[in-house]
């Protein structure tokens, strides 16, 4: 009777309607969970946590001298998406990544979208992650973003909205796969009846995507995952993906560039690498071109990349699409390149560089969410309604000082999902959703994704560094 006292309250609840009726696609889950007692549920939870710990599915806590490792908190109540909703999301995500790739190709070549005044040129040219030195650089198959993790939220009516596009190195996909494994072990009989689509194809889809961009269409390319190293918080994910794909996992020091080609140092000498799935930001890739103090990078890599002897996924310079000011223009990109209206809308956004918007932002700061244009992980952000007067003032000053660097959005009442709380009962917690989109010979979207949940009561911040956890996400074959 885990759900008997559950209250949806005034939020959009994924599982229950406002009248307290369970939504059809959650029915079989409710039936199964209602057979469980609190003790049994607690046992399953502990078993899952222990198995994550044993398998080393952990991330490193930064700034801890003992290198403490934690598991990413996992909630056993899965988030369920019926087929109809999924089809809608798929169409919207395909449309969005197509437009973003066309946009990146355009701004690094003809810049039509700027010339025609669709986006004011100054916004792009001043973007922190725009890389003018890669103008007219040929990128294999003209694909810039091969792997995208678009963050979606739902508002108080249940409408899906795009919160941000992560076109650099989106992480978290290994948790999706591990979460599913954990659920299978905890509830072995639940899946066959539930009609849940499998997510296991992700690694082979990723491999296909990477193969597709091999230099000069090379048949049997050597592929490697480039990691910052074993102390990186996402190292588990890097090895996980390398293992699943059966490719090498390399650190900067394993690679060397000679004759504009990239080689790995192996026990049998140097071996050429054709495609690198890099999990290192642009800034650290090549100390000759970017940060000279980067010890993670490979001197000469950019040279090899320019010469077309190695492909990088994602390409260099995609960070400009992650800029929150660029985000504002994505609906216009969709219109401009595809002649379509956006299928999944953006969250309404105000730009501090626009006079009217700025005025509104300053007058209503306490009602808005203010974000720095180039921060991620829940940092550089002000949630107006939860902020103190001093914090509001501080952000107002920052906005005025650097208008190019700030945007604002209305506070969205994120949808909630039943989540097992510290009090050993089901309580509503806010969630978001990150699906993973692969862009290769075709667009492949894993039927599932990472549902992140703000475990603290009332919190809207889902990031793992700030008290967030995750849930397994089920995409159903049918609608119930």
């Amino acid at each position: 009777m885990l759900f008997s006292k559950y209250q949806a309250e005034e939020f959009f609840d994924e599982m229950f309607t406002a009248e307290g009726q369970v939504r059809p696609h959650y029915k079989s889950l409710q039936n199964r969970f209602d057979q469980l007692g609190v003790n049994e549920f607690d046992q399953k939870r502990q078993a899952v946590d222990l198995s994550f710990m044993r398998m080393g599915v952990t991330f490193t806590v930064y700034g801890d001298s003992e290198g403490t490792e934690r598991i990413f908190p996992f909630d056993l109540v899965p988030r369920i998406i019926p087929n109809k909703e999924w089809e809608y999301l798929q169409r919207g995500l395909e449309q969005r990544i197509t437009a973003l790739n066309m946009f990146l190709h355009d701004i690094y070549h003809e810049q039509r979208i700027l010339k025609e005044g669709i986006i004011p040129a100054s916004y792009v040219l001043t973007a922190k992650h725009f890389r003018p030195e890669f103008m007219n650089c040929k990128v294999m198959r003209d694909i810039y973003i091969h792997i995208c993790g678009t963050d979606l939220i739902r508002d108080d009516k249940g409408q899906y909205l795009v919160l941000e596009d992560n076109g650099r190195c989106p992480s978290g996909v290994s948790y999706v796969l591990e979460n599913r494994q954990a659920m299978r072990r905890a509830f072995p009989n639940l899946f066959e009846r539930a009609g849940v689509r499998p997510v296991d194809n992700y690694a082979s889809d990723l491999l296909n995507t990477l193969r597709y961009v091999a230099p000069n269409g090379k048949d049997n390319p050597t592929i490697a995952v480039l990691t910052p190293g074993i102390y990186n918080s996402a190292y588990f994910e890097h090895t996980f993906l390398a293992k699943e794909m059966g490719v090498h996992i390399v650190e900067g020091g394993d690679l060397v560039v000679r004759d504009s080609k990239v080689f790995m140092r192996t026990t049998k000498g140097l071996e050429q690498v054709d495609v690198i799935y890099r999990r290192i930001d642009d800034d650290f890739l090549d100390p000759c071109v970017f940060r000279p103090d980067s010890a993670l990078g490979i001197p000469g890599l950019v040279n090899a990349y320019r010469a077309g002897n190695v492909s990088l996924a994602n390409a260099i310079g995609t960070g400009v699409a992650d800029d929150k000011v660029m985000y504002y223009f994505v609906p216009r990109m969709i219109k401009f390149y595809l002649g379509q209206d956006p299928i999944i809308p953006n969250v309404p956004t105000y730009l501090a560089t626009e006079k009217e918007d700025l005025k509104y932002m300053l007058e209503n700061t306490a009602k808005l969410v203010v974000k720095a244009a180039n921060e991620a992980g829940g940092y550089g952000m002000l949630i107006g309604p939860k902020a103190t007067a001093a914090e509001v003032k501080d952000f107002q000053a920052r906005i005025k000082a650097e208008p190019r660097n700030y945007i604002a959005q209305p506070t969205i009442s994120l949808s909630r999902h039943p989540t097992y709380s510290d009090l050993s009962q089901m309580e509503g917690r806010h969630i978001d959703f990150r699906p993973y989109i692969l862009y290769g010979d075709k667009i492949r979207i894993m039927p599932g994704g990472l549902t992140r949940v703000a475990l603290k009561k009332g919190s809207l911040v889902v990031n793992s560094s700030q008290g967030g956890g995750s849930k397994d996400t089920w995409v159903l074959y049918g609608d119930e």
Binding site: R54, M55, K243, H248, G253, D254, T266, P287, C288, G300
Partner: protein, 363 residues
């Protein structure tokens, strides 16, 4: 395989073997204390001090502890993180290397290494060690055996296995020589000296148990424990899997697999040194060893083992440390002369230091 990863597999195995051996030695020493008729402070000190000398760093020990007794020495060899050869340090290093080679070892292996790490890190385990050291050391040894089983059950025969086996057997050879060295005086005196000590038998049995060799020895020499035969068994047996000769032969076998060189021939420095050491062990008698002095002979062998380790590193692992500033300069030049000629790369000699035989090799 990536050189870095090969190195990690090699050291993962070495550290696991080391943890297993240290566990066994400490456990045997704790238990054999029960066999002495008189047990005073002097005796206890004599029993523990050689362990510190051969397995660890004497100076470090003295800077950390006031006296050598059961508690201080076992603590130093088991839980002290400053001692790089303590069981805890070995397991941390083994896991670190397993993690770096995570994509090359089976999930089951990784889980076991990780489990061992979580085991030794937990508070309950420390309590177990204090209350029931026998169970504690047993758990460490069992985990090492399990990992050896997993190695043979899950590793593709090829370069992965070769590096793991080389690490295992090089370390085992080194540890067996150290186990003998702990009691070298007793053994030497018993063979060459005038009188027999009452405790010789206890110590010989301890040496055998420290190498899991007690039963195998009894099978081989039905006549009872004799110091000379004990030393012979652990040094020169051609069939006991922990004897030095056996370990070096196995090691040599996996080393040659990488190039396909036949025994009696060599293609690189590592094969040359390994073959030479094996030949020496094949054609040596115990009379010669005792004439030279057991301790001196063991020192000599440890030095050779260390040289082989360095040679493997230089042959298969080592790449000249890239001088980042120079490399950046070089790449920038390449960039400016876009039609650059191909550059032949040269590898310079390593500057790795040879270690003294008294100190255990560290990664």
């Amino acid at each position: 395989m990536l050189s870095r990863v090969a190195n990690s597999l090699f050291w993962m195995s070495r550290y696991l073997e080391r943890a297993e051996n240290v566990s066994r030695i400490v456990d045997v020493n704790l238990q054999s204390l029960l066999d002495y008729k008189t047990l005073d402070d002097k005796r206890i000190k004599e029993q523990w001090e050689p362990l510190v000398n051969t397995l660890g760093d004497d100076e470090l020990f003295r800077s950390l502890y006031k006296k050598s007794d059961s508690h201080s020495v076992t603590e130093f060899l088991t839980y002290n993180e400053e001692n790089p050869n303590s069981i805890l340090s070995c397991i941390i290093s083994a896991r670190h290397n397993a993690r770096a080679a995570r994509d090359q070892i089976a999930l089951e292996m990784w889980e076991e290494v990780n489990r061992l790490y979580l085991f030794i890190r937990s508070k309950e385990t420390k309590k177990l060690w204090q209350e029931s050291p026998y169970d504690f050391y047993r758990e460490i040894k069992q985990s090492s055996y399990k990992l050896q089983g997993l190695t043979s059950a899950t590793t593709i025969h090829g370069i992965n296995l070769e590096f793991m086996m080389m690490g295992r057997f090089l370390e085992r050879a080194d540890m067996t020589s150290r186990i003998l060295d702990v009691k070298h005086r007793t053994l030497q005196d018993a063979v060459c000296g005038p009188e027999e000590d009452n405790n010789t038998m206890i110590e010989c049995a301890a040496v055998l148990r420290s190498s899991s060799a007690y039963e195998a020895y009894q099978h081989t020499y039905v006549s009872g424990v004799a110091p000379k035969k004990v030393a012979e068994f652990l040094l020169l047996s051609d069939s006991f899997p922990r004897s030095l000769r056996f370990c070096v032969r196995t090691f040599d076998h996996f080393l040659r697999k990488m190039t396909g060189s036949d025994p009696g021939y060599f293609r690189n420095e590592a094969e040359k040194l390994s073959g030479r050491l094996l030949a020496e062990l094949n054609y040596t008698t115990m009379n010669e060893v005792f004439a030279m002095g057991l301790h001196e002979y063991l020192d000599h062998v440890q030095l050779k083992l260390s040289d082989v380790g360095v040679a493997i590193f230089e042959t298969y692992i080592f790449y000249q440390q890239t001088d980042l500033a120079k490399e950046i300069e070089y790449q920038k030049q390449q960039q400016s002369q876009s039609q650059s000629q191909s550059q032949s790369q040269s590898q310079s000699q390593s500057q790795s230091q040879h270690q003294t035989p008294r100190q255990k090799q560290q990664q």
